[in-house]
């Protein structure tokens, strides 16, 4: 029997994403953010997480997805990274699911743009696909790809 892994899942513009549960520190409601002028575009701002200042990265922007419809508030998925805690802004939180490794496949070659670098693999769940996000890269990109403002 192949080993299985737990994923914290979330939705982004209709896509179904997941990050391994051990990487997730917590999931919190939308927080008021402080804008950071001159920052890379994908850094939406900073939030105060119990006295710790945590940058919030808009995953839609990071993945090159269309912007979030006005009026919809994102959720924060706070992940632990080698650079400290970082909040990922997502549309909606899904369940924690356990999936077996036999369902894993490498991302399709046809995946476009940034998504290709950031999707580690795809789980073929019945009815839909779970895209595994490479959180380290998602966070790192914010540093290496500053967007002109």
């Amino acid at each position: 029997m192949a080993s299985s892994q737990q994923f914290c899942t979330f939705f982004l513009s209709g896509h179904f994403f997941g990050t391994p549960v051990p990487q997730v520190q917590e999931v919190i409601q939308y927080q008021e953010m402080t804008r950071v002028p001159l920052a890379p575009e994908m850094v939406s701002g900073m939030i105060n997480l119990r006295g710790q200042i945590v940058p919030a990265i808009d995953l839609r922007k990071r993945l090159g997805l269309p912007p979030r419809p006005a009026g919809e508030q994102p959720m924060n998925v706070v992940v632990r990274t080698s650079e400290g805690a970082v909040s990922l802004l997502v549309d909606e939180i899904g369940d924690v699911i356990e999936v077996g490794e036999e369902m894993l496949e490498s991302p399709p070659e046809t995946l476009a743009g940034c998504a290709r670098e950031l999707v580690e693999g795809v789980y073929k769940l019945p009815g839909r696909l779970l895209l595994v996000l490479d959180t380290e890269r998602a966070v790192d990109g914010a540093k290496t790809v500053p967007t002109a403002t």
Binding site: E32, T34, P37, L38, G45, M46, I53, G84, A142, K143
Partner: protein
């Protein structure tokens, strides 16, 4: 200080003996290490003021304590060594010997040996295999040195302990200037000691104190206890005196304990959480309208605030804690390199976070070593260069902009850029053509490259090539920067800037474009509010750059919302085209790097004490911020990095450079201009008018200053027109006469415009009729016939303009310019 004997006494009940000994040895090690550190400092100080009995006494006491403890714990070798040191010191103390460099060297060697033994004890539990017989013998030899008179010290026989002064009055503190009171006598005269205080209060008799002191020499009890035991003093008096002493000198009375740093970290985080919960509670209490509840939450508020600030303090340490060991390091290095160095420390009580203190310890030591080894020259070389024989090494620490700045400045030879380039090529760090093209500043950066060293020979001090790159990486690891400035022959300054991750700084809160920002108060000079209705010029424009006249001086302005590309708030509009369109303008006058500028913000709210927190790695690269902070309402606000902001806005690259580096900056600018020219053919030129029709362009990079003088200031020396300028005489060249042959309309106006040109330390003034403009454009030169001093002609602002070749023009006009000064001055006078 608790002696091991005391701890033994109260611990004997219960625990097993080996366990107990381990603990005692551990205490002994910690205590002795601190004592040794202090010894290092005190011995170096003692060398500077050899007649200080206070220092001598303290040194003696420290060695005595170590000796006593290790005798008790059975470390016989260590005891023997300490004993040798103690006997030597007692000779010094009693005036039989004067302190010489040799003796200091011996004592320092002993301190090192003791330290080595302590390490051996820590590692193996025994005091090592080395018996240091040679060192002990050296100490013995030193003791036999003939009595020497120390400088300025009177070697009269020293009063002995058994001869107390006749009256207590003569032992009053004012009598401290008497020649050489002995150590024990200090106890008489010194009202900071219990014996002295009791004596001063007339509660004991001097002879009782003398007897008690003798007893103390034998045993290890407290004077107060002995006095009580002798029946010479009343216990209440002793207790009262003790209290007075404690109140007077809290340091000696305060008990300290050692606490793990991770525990402090945890406390810090918990307090952070508590403060947040407190904030929520406060908001809740406002909505509840319950008087009792509100009172409780107010109280809770105060306690939490105080708790927070106290816990913060537990992690802060003065930088002096690591500087303390530099006097010894510098002394030893100076002796071993045959140099004379004076160490100056400034800002020792600058506090920074414990973890940061630890992290910068090694880089700083390395920089200090570097300055001594490479920077400061030997006395002979220094004298030749016309400097004082002893070099000065200055360490300075201060808070600026939420960062700690540490400067290591020496007045040595400075960096040899030629050698640096050459070495870098030899070591294959850069290619030869690349090295030649490098600016001085870039060349200086080469020393931060891994494996770089210019030392001729590898010494035990430095030159092994693991140096500046390690310093740089270590400092950058904690979010700091290292910057180096050097002037050949004048010295090198290394500036280390490190963030205070946990420091609390006062800050001014402002808003711009709807966002809140904190401005560290250290950069703040004043606040100016301009009402639109107010008479006066307000904000004016100089070539598209907004300025404000602040008490007669032009203050360059920076619009925060534009600099940060924030959407401009309503009413402000595009300030570059329509400044001061709104009803009022708030200008925060700031200082960065010694220069002033005004920051225009929408609103100035308040000053607040803020806790500096680092920005995430994703945002580190933005030079405009130095960190972030959490405000009372729980929201995050960015802390502006004033220097970074000013550099972004380019308000710093103008006149008013700090004098020391003015030449460097100018050189850099000239290089930059040259580089631009070669890259795109673009050049910034000063357009002047000479004569009625002739327009001339002078590359701006060659212009030192533009000045206006009354015509009366022109004097003549021989046939040469000259002028007094900044305390010197500079020759003048009338451009129109020189280039067009026209006679200048004498006294046409009572002011003359002078373009000052400098080369190799010599200046010359070019007299022009009018200064027209400064233009930045691509110059397509066309040769319009050879004329001396003219490179060619070009079209600037739709008019034909000659581009001057200033260097050759000056040489035509003044033969011998920029030759050795003697030749020129003889031509002038």
């Amino acid at each position: 200080m608790r002696s091991p004997a005391d701890s033994l006494a109260w611990r004997l009940q219960g625990t097993s003996r080996t366990e107990l000994m381990d603990e005692i040895v551990k205490d002994f090690l910690i205590e002795s290490k601190e004592n040794l550190d202090r010894l290092d400092q005190e011995l170096v100080k003692l060398e500077i003021e050899p007649s200080s009995h206070e220092l001598l006494a303290s040194v003696f006491r420290t060695i005595h304590t170590i000796k006593g403890s290790c005798g008790f714990l059975g470390f016989s070798k260590l005891e023997k060594l300490a004993h040798a040191g103690e006997s030597l010191l007692s000779k010094l103390r009693d005036g039989h010997l004067a302190l010489t460099e040799e003796i200091t060297g011996g004592l320092l060697a002993m301190v090192d040996a003791v330290r080595g033994m302590l390490q051996a004890i820590e590692a193996s539990g025994a005091d090592g295999d080395q018996d240091y017989a040679e060192l002990v013998a050296r100490m013995a030899r030193l003791q036999e040195a003939p009595i020497q008179k120390a400088k300025g010290q009177d070697a009269t026989p020293v009063p002995q302990l058994s001869l107390p002064p006749e009256t207590p009055a003569s032992a009053s503190p004012e009598a401290g200037a008497e020649p050489a009171p002995s150590l024990a006598l200090d106890d008489f005269a010194d009202p900071t000691k219990i014996g002295g205080l009791l004596l001063q209060r007339g509660q004991i008799r001097p002879e009782d104190l003398a007897a008690a002191l003798e007893k103390q020499e034998l045993g290890r009890k407290k004077i107060g206890e002995i006095l009580i035991a002798q029946g010479a003093a009343h216990p209440d008096d002793v207790a009262a005196a003790q209290r007075v002493l404690e109140a007077r000198n809290p340091q000696s009375a305060v008990e300290t304990i050692r606490v793990g740093v991770n525990l402090l970290d945890r406390l810090m985080n918990l307090v952070g959480e508590l403060v947040l919960a407190r904030n929520q509670l406060l908001q809740f209490s406002h909505s509840l309208q319950d008087a009792g509840f509100q009172a409780v939450s107010q109280r809770m508020n105060l306690i939490a605030t105080e708790l927070q600030s106290e816990v913060m303090k537990t992690r802060m340490q003065p930088i002096g804690n690591i500087w303390n060991r530099f006097p010894r390091t510098v002394r030893d290095l100076a002796v071993s390199c045959g140099k004379e160095v004076r160490l100056e420390l400034e800002g020792q009580d600058t506090e920074l976070d414990r973890t940061i203190i630890e992290a910068i310890k090694d880089p700083l030591t390395h920089l200090v070593r570097n300055s001594l080894d490479h920077g400061i020259e030997t006395p002979a070389v220094r004298r030749q260069a016309g400097k004082e024989a002893s070099g000065v090494l200055k360490l300075r620490a201060f808070h600026e902009g939420g960062q700690v700045n540490i400067e290591i400045r020496d007045d040595g030879a400075g960096l040899n850029l030629g050698r640096i380039r050459q070495k870098a090529i030899e070591r294959g760090l850069v290619a030869a053509p690349q090295a030649a093209q490098m600016s001085d500043r870039d060349a200086m950066q080469l020393i931060f490259a891994p494996g770089f060293s210019t030392a001729e020979k590898i010494t035990n001090v430095s030159g092994r090539g693991v140096g500046m790159d390690v310093v740089k990486t270590n400092v950058e690891k904690i979010g700091g920067t290292v910057d180096m400035q050097s002037i050949a022959g004048q010295g090198t300054t290394v500036r280390v800037k490190i963030p205070l991750t946990l420091a609390i700084i006062p800050a001014l809160m402002v808003t711009s474009g709807g966002e809140r920002f904190a401005i560290p108060q250290v950069s703040l000079l004043e606040l100016v509010r301009l009402d639109a209705s107010q008479p006066g010029p307000g904000i004016e424009m100089v070539h598209g750059a907004p300025v404000y006249r602040l008490r007669g001086r032009l203050l360059p302005l920076v619009y925060l919302n534009q600099e940060l590309k924030l959407t401009p708030a309503a009413g402000i509009g595009d300030a570059k085209t329509a400044p001061a369109a709104s009803t009022a303008t708030n200008i925060v006058v700031l200082q960065a790097d010694g220069r002033q500028f005004g920051l225009v913000v929408d609103e100035i709210t308040d000053t607040e004490e803020i806790v500096v927190k680092p920005l995430g790695k994703q945002l580190k690269g933005i030079s405009a911020y130095s960190g972030a902070t959490i405000m009372g309402d729980g929201r995050v606000a960015l802390i502006l990095d004033i220097l970074g902001l000013a550099q972004r806005a380019r308000v710093l690259s103008g006149a008013g450079d700090s004098a020391l580096f003015e030449n460097e900056k100018r050189k850099k600018k000239a290089e930059l201009a040259a580089a631009q020219e070669s890259l795109a053919g673009r050049q910034t030129v000063l357009v002047v008018q000479c004569g009625d029709q002739c327009r001339m362009a002078i590359p701006l990079s060659l212009v030192a200053r533009l000045e206006e003088f009354p015509s009366a200031a022109i004097e003549t020396a021989g046939t040469q027109e000259v002028m007094q300028y900044r305390g010197r005489i500079i020759p003048l060249i009338r451009l129109s006469r020189m280039l067009t042959g026209a006679q200048a309309p004498a006294a046409a106006s009572d002011r003359v415009q002078v373009v000052v040109y400098s080369e190799a330390g010599r200046s010359v003034g070019l007299v022009v009729d009018r200064i027209l403009d400064i233009v930045d454009q691509t110059l397509a030169l066309e040769n319009t016939g050879q004329r001396p001093g003219v490179l060619g002609s070009t079209v600037i602002q739709k008019r034909v303009t000659d581009l001057l070749d200033v260097a050759s023009l000056v040489r035509v006009a003044i033969p011998g310019f920029a030759e050795p000064p003697a030749a020129v001055s003889s031509g002038v006078s």
